[in-house]
Symmetry: C2
Subunit: 76 residues, 2 copies
Amino acid sequence: MLVRPKQGILDPQGAAVEGSLRKLGFPVSSVRVGKVIDLEVQADGQDDARKHVERMCEALLANPLIESVEIQIEEE
Amino acid sequence: MLVRPKQGILDPQGAAVEGSLRKLGFPVSSVRVGKVIDLEVQADGQDDARKHVERMCEALLANPLIESVEIQIEEE
């Protein structure tokens, strides 16, 4: 899953990276930094896995006020 | 782009998240935490953009000893 700062929300880490890249001469106009969280979950199929991950987001992994979440499920 | 701790490399943030999720009762067997970095880059096409991002990785964004990088390019 990907957890990103929502549009309009301050992203100091992204701003710092953007400043450093510009100082190094790279042609960047925007940088946003979020998290990629790779989870192995025991579940009965993809729907069940997605529900588990959604509950994990609510309980711990993301703050819905300031972060947006993108969930990708892969079966093993 | 996605920057993840390489397999076999200690990931204390992932271990902490895994422990917390288990305490909350979630059926997780592995958690790894990395970074998603969304960059807007001025470039002449996708190949040029990829080269820029690869150079940014070498210069600042990733440590090849301990991190693996996955670059995805989208055109605007």
